[in-house]
C-alpha cells in the first residue's frame, strides 16, 4: 500500500502554502501571474494539480491558467534540477561564443535542447536571453549566482565541483 499522503492533514499542509498565496492576493484573477510565480517558488514547478487548484480557486478555466503558464518562459511545468544553469544567449554573449559553453555543458551531462534536465534531477541546463550583464559576456547563471566571461572549461569545472562535493558528502 502506498500512502502518498499520510492523511488529509498532510495534504492540507501540502496545499496550505498555495492557500496562503491565494489569500494574499485575495483570489484576484488579475493577479494570476504573481500568484503563479509565488506558487512556483514554493513548489519549484507548476504541477497539474496545483494549476487546477489555482484555477478553480480563482474561478477561471484551467485551460486559461495553463495557457498563461505555458506562455511565459519562467514557468516550469516539469520539475527542474537542483542546479539550474542558465546560459545567456543574448546578442553580446552570442557574439562572444556562448554556444560553445552550452555544448560543453550538454556534452558533460548528456543533455540536449530537447532534454534539459538530468534524470537524477541534479542539473538543468537552459538558455535565456540577456541577463543584463552584457559587459561580462558570455554570462552564465547557476541558480542565483552570476558568472561572467565564462569559458567552456570553467563551466564544466563547476559541474565537476558540485559532483565532487556531493560525492564527498555521501
Amino acid at each position: 500500500m502506498q500512502e502518498t499522503n499520510e492523511k488529509t492533514a498532510a495534504m492540507i499542509e501540502h496545499l496550505a502554502a498555495v492557500n496562503k498565496i491565494l489569500e494574499k492576493y485575495n483570489c484576484d484573477e488579475s493577479k494570476l501571474i504573481p500568484i503563479l510565480q509565488e506558487v512556483q517558488e514554493e513548489y519549484k514547478y507548476l504541477s497539474k494539480d496545483v494549476i487546477s487548484y489555482v484555477a478553480t480557486s480563482l474561478d477561471i478555466p484551467p485551460a486559461k491558467v495553463y495557457g498563461v503558464a505555458t506562455f511565459y518562459a519562467h514557468f516550469a511545468l516539469e520539475p527542474k534540477g537542483k542546479y539550474v544553469f542558465k546560459l545567456c544567449d543574448g546578442t553580446a554573449c552570442h557574439v562572444k561564443k556562448s554556444h560553445s559553453i552550452l555544448h560543453a555543458l550538454y556534452d558533460r551531462l548528456g543533455l540536449s535542447d530537447d532534454k534539459q534536465t538530468t534524470d537524477d534531477l541534479m542539473f538543468t541546463v537552459e538558455t535565456v536571453s540577456c541577463l543584463g550583464a552584457c559587459g561580462l559576456a558570455p554570462v552564465m547563471l547557476v541558480n542565483e549566482d552570476v558568472y561572467g566571461q565564462v569559458k567552456p572549461e570553467e563551466a564544466v569545472a563547476i559541474i565537476d565541483d558540485i559532483l565532487a562535493k556531493a560525492a564527498a558528502a555521501e
Binding site: S129, G132, G135
Partner: protein, 634 residues
C-alpha cells in the same frame, strides 16, 4: 510647507555627511560587479578598514547626533552599474576621485594600506587603455567615460537605497515643481523639451501625455516599461538598479500630467536586483510621504506597484504588457485603440520606458530649454547604449544624440577587436543597432550622426539601444539568423505573418547557411520579409524582418557567396567550410595531423600536409593547432 519635507531631508543628509564622513568609498554593486564579487570586496573593505583602526559604515545613521569628535567615518556605499562592467568590480575613492578596476578581495588590504592610510595610488589596479597603454587614475581621465555626456546616468554613483541622498542631489524637485503647475502645463513643458520616447519608437513624450490627459476618465494609469528584452541591452536595468527614485519621480510627474493616481513598474523577471531596489525605493518614498495620498500636502495622490514579468520579450510591447499586468497571456492587441484611450483595464494609460521616465525629473527641475540644448534639433537629449561585441571597451554609455558611430566605436569603445581580442585597426565590419528590430550599419556610415530619424532612413533604429560591434570574422547571415531565431522564439504566436513567417525565414536562412539555397530561396526570403513587415499585428513582427532586410541590402555579396559560391567569407558557416592547407606555408610539423579527430590529414614530417575533403568534418581543430597559419577555409 511642501518644500519643508524635502529641504529638511536634504539638510539632515548634508549635516550628517559634512559632520561625520571623511571618505566616501563607492563600490559598484550592479549585476555585473556583484557577479564578479563586489559584495565580498565591500565586506573585506569594511573589515580591513576596521583593522586599520578606521571607522567604516555601509549605511548612514540619520538619528545619530554626529558628535564624534575627530573620529570620522569611511562611508562604504554601493552604486548601480557604472557602465564599465567589463572592468568590474569598480571601487571609487573620494576625495581623490580615484577609480580602481577589477578589484579582488586580495587587493583590499593593499588599497587600505596604500590609498586610505598613506594616500598612495595602487598602480596595478588603475585602468590601462588597451589601445594606447595609457593609465588613468581618475574617472575623468578614462576615455571610456570622458567622451560621454551623462544626463540620465548623472547620479549613477549615488547610493540607490538612499532616498536621502537622491533628495540631497535635487531629487523630487521636479515633482515639487510639477505639483505647482497644471496638468496641461506639465505636458507642455515636456513637449517643449522635445523629449522622445526611449522605448524604441521615439514618439514625443509630451504629445503622448497630452493625448492621455485629453481622454476623459475617472481612473487612469501610468506604467513604466522596464521589460527591456533586447538581448544585449541593459540600460534600463542599470537605471532601475542604480537610481530607482528617478524612475519613481518621473512616474509621479507623468501621473500629475495625465491626472492618474495609480501606476505599475513592470520589471523583467531576469532582473531580480532591480526588483529589489525598486521595492525598497517605493517603500522609502511611501515612508516619507512621497507616494500615497495627498502627497506633499497638495492633494495629489499616487499609488505605485512593482510587478515582475515572467519571461516574454513580447511583453515589452505596450498592449502585451497591459495584458500581462491583467493576468493574461501577453498577446498584443490591435491598435487603435491606443493605451492613451483604452489601456490597463480599459482605462486611459500612459506607458513610458524607464529611460524616458528617468529623464523627466531633470526637465521639470531645470526646465525644457536646458534639456533641449543637448542632442540634435529633432532628437534632443542623450541616449544610453549598451556597447558590446568586438570592441575593446564594452559597457553602458550615454552620449548626446547626434554623436557619430566613429566616436562611439573608436573613442569610447577604444576600437574594434579581432576574435583574439586584439586591436588591429582594420577589423571593423558592421554595427548592429536596435537589437532584433534593428539593422546593420556599415563602415560607410561611421560618420553618420546617430538619431531617431537618420537611423530610420538607413533601415535601422535606435530601438532600445543595443549596439553590437562586429569584426571581419563575423558572418552576416549568421547575424541575421541569430536575430531571426530570437524573434521566432519570442513571437507570441498570435498573428500569421509573424508566427509562420519568422519560422519560415529562419528555415530559409538555415538553408542558406547549410549551402542548400538557390536563387529562389533569396527571392522567397525577401518577399516573405516584406510581407511580414507590412502585415504583422504588432511591432515585433513588423520589425522582425529588419535584420534580414538590412543585411540583404548592405551585405548582399555575402548572401551571394553563400548561395552561389557555396562559401562563407567569414568562415563561420561550418557546412560551407573548405579547409585547405597552403603548401607554401606548411612546415610539415604534423601538429594538425595529430589533432584531427577523423584522420583527414595526410603528410610526412617536414613535407606539406593535405586535407582529404571527403573525410573532413570541418571541426576546425587543425586550424587552431597550426602555428604557421597554413590552414585556411575553416
Amino acid at each position: 510647507m511642501s518644500n519643508k519635507i524635502l529641504s529638511d531631508i536634504k539638510a539632515k543628509y548634508d549635516e550628517v555627511v559634512n559632520n561625520s564622513v571623511e571618505r566616501r568609498i563607492t563600490l559598484c554593486a550592479g549585476t555585473g560587479c556583484v557577479a564578479n564579487g563586489a559584495l565580498e570586496v565591500r565586506d573585506a573593505l569594511v573589515k580591513e578598514l576596521e583593522k586599520a583602526g578606521q571607522k567604516a559604515v555601509i549605511e548612514l545613521d540619520y538619528e545619530d547626533n554626529h558628535d564624534h569628535g575627530d573620529e570620522k567615518l569611511n562611508y562604504v556605499s554601493k552604486s548601480g552599474c557604472q557602465g564599465f562592467c567589463q572592468m568590474g568590480p569598480l571601487v571609487k575613492i573620494q576625495p581623490g576621485n580615484i577609480i580602481y578596476t577589477k578589484v579582488k578581495v586580495e587587493d583590499v588590504r593593499e588599497i587600505v594600506e596604500s590609498t586610505i592610510v598613506n594616500d598612495d595610488v595602487v598602480e596595478r589596479l588603475v585602468y590601462e587603455n588597451p589601445a594606447t597603454g595609457k593609465k588613468s587614475v581618475t574617472e575623468e581621465e578614462i576615455d571610456f567615460y570622458n567622451r560621454q555626456t551623462r544626463v540620465v546616468l548623472e547620479n549613477s554613483t549615488i547610493e540607490p537605497d538612499s532616498i536621502e541622498e537622491y533628495i540631497s542631489k535635487g531629487g523630487y524637485k521636479g515633482i515639487e515643481n510639477a505639483l505647482e503647475m497644471t496638468s496641461m502645463e506639465v505636458c507642455e513643458e515636456v513637449l517643449a523639451s522635445g523629449m522622445r520616447g526611449r522605448g524604441g519608437g521615439g514618439f514625443p513624450t509630451g504629445l503622448k501625455w497630452k493625448f492621455t490627459l485629453a481622454s476623459q476618465n475617472d481612473k487612469k494609469y501610468v506604467i513604466c516599461n522596464g521589460d527591456e528584452g533586447d538581448p544585449g541591452a541593459f540600460m534600463d536595468r542599470s537605471v532601475l538598479e542604480g537610481n530607482p527614485h528617478s524612475v519613481i519621480e518621473g512616474m509621479m510627474i507623468a501621473a500629475k500630467a495625465i491626472e492618474a493616481d495609480e501606476g505599475y513598474v513592470y520589471v523583467r523577471a531576469e532582473y531580480p536586483l532591480a526588483v529589489k531596489r525598486m521595492n525598497r525605493a517605493v517603500a522609502d518614498a511611501e515612508r516619507i510621504g512621497l507616494l500615497g495620498d495627498d502627497i506633499l500636502g497638495t492633494g495629489f495622490s499616487f499609488k505605485l506597484h512593482v510587478m515582475e514579468g515572467a519571461g516574454a520579450f513580447v511583453c515589452g510591447e505596450e498592449t502585451a504588457l497591459i495584458a500581462s499586468i491583467e493576468g493574461k497571456r501577453g498577446m498584443p492587441m490591435p491598435k487603435p485603440p491606443f493605451p492613451a484611450q483604452s489601456g490597463l483595464w480599459g482605462k486611459p494609460t500612459v506607458i513610458n520606458n524607464v529611460e524616458t521616465l528617468a529623464s523627466i525629473p531633470g526637465i521639470l527641475r531645470d526646465g525644457a530649454a536646458k534639456y533641449k540644448a543637448i542632442g540634435t534639433e529633432k532628437s534632443p537629449g542623450t541616449k544610453t547604449f549598451a556597447l558590446t561585441g568586438h570592441v575593446a571597451n564594452t559597457g553602458l554609455i550615454e552620449v548626446p544624440f547626434g554623436t557619430t558611430l566613429r566616436e562611439i566605436v573608436y573613442e569610447i569603445g577604444g576600437g574594434v577587436t579581432n576574435n583574439a581580442g586584439e586591436i588591429t585597426g582594420e577589423d571593423f565590419k558592421s554595427v548592429q543597432i536596435g537589437g532584433p528590430s534593428g539593422g546593420c550599419l556599415t563602415p560607410e556610415m561611421l560618420d553618420m550622426p546617430l538619431d531617431f530619424d537618420s537611423l530610420q532612413e538607413v533601415g535601422a533604429m535606435v530601438g532600445s539601444g543595443g549596439l553590437v560591434v562586429m569584426n571581419n570574422e563575423t558572418c552576416m547571415i549568421q547575424v541575421a539568423r541569430f536575430f531571426m531565431q530570437f524573434t521566432q522564439n519570442e513571437s507570441c504566436g498570435k498573428c500569421v505573418p509573424c508566427r509562420e513567417g519568422t519560422k519560415q525565414m529562419l528555415a530559409l536562412l538555415d538553408d542558406i547557411i547549410a549551402g542548400e539555397a538557390t536563387a529562389d530561396t533569396l527571392e522567397l526570403l525577401e518577399q516573405t520579409a516584406h510581407a511580414v513587415k507590412a502585415g504583422s499585428l504588432c511591432g515585433l513582427g513588423k520589425t522582425a524582418p529588419n535584420p534580414v532586410l538590412s543585411t540583404l541590402k548592405y551585405f548582399k555579396n555575402e548572401y551571394d557567396a553563400h548561395v552561389f559560391d557555396k562559401s562563407c567569407p567569414a568562415n563561420e558557416c561550418k557546412a560551407l567550410a573548405k579547409p585547405e592547407i597552403i603548401a607554401d606555408k606548411c612546415k610539415g610539423c604534423t601538429a594538425c595531423k595529430r589533432v584531427c579527430p577523423v584522420n583527414a590529414i595526410e603528410g610526412e614530417v617536414k613535407v606539406a600536409h593535405t586535407i582529404d575533403a571527403e573525410k573532413c568534418i570541418k571541426c576546425g581543430a587543425c586550424k587552431e593547432k597550426c602555428k604557421f597559419d597554413a590552414i585556411v577555409g575553416v
